[in-house]
Symmetry: C2
Subunit: 95 residues, 2 copies
Amino acid sequence: MFQPLDPLLHSELRLAVVSLLISVEEAEFPYIKEQTGATAGNLSVQLDKLSTAGYINVEKTFKGKKPCTLCRMTDKGRKAFEAYVEALKSYLNVT
Amino acid sequence: MFQPLDPLLHSELRLAVVSLLISVEEAEFPYIKEQTGATAGNLSVQLDKLSTAGYINVEKTFKGKKPCTLCRMTDKGRKAFEAYVEALKSYLNVT
């Protein structure tokens, strides 16, 4: 009856990150930090987890001489998010 | 932008329990166990947490001589679930 929920996405901060990234082409670390209200340390850890899972792509680059971390969703991440939303419906479609 | 998710409900098994209970008047332990696929031990722990939070009511009673554990949602639990679903929409309403 209940479909399993991807533990990588069923986490408040990781879900917020994916929710942000899914609606944009790419986003920089400070923007994600500001939008999610996460600490830099925690956000780094969660981005690493999503990146290791292949759900997002993290590119370390430079803006002039300033380091810049760019994140974007992968196709795998998009599919995982869609599957997560579908699975979640089995828990929420009640009255 | 993102609303906080009630950690009591943002847990796969507790969410399944609440999702079940919200659509019925009451449910017995074995039925919840079967529907969620949880182990008896884990289910007991999660029911306790929901009960301590005042989200569900757990009544230990008897069916003849057989012990029977009856669970039902409280008004507080229903409101918490509604708030959780609303908060969740801030993460899912994207495309």
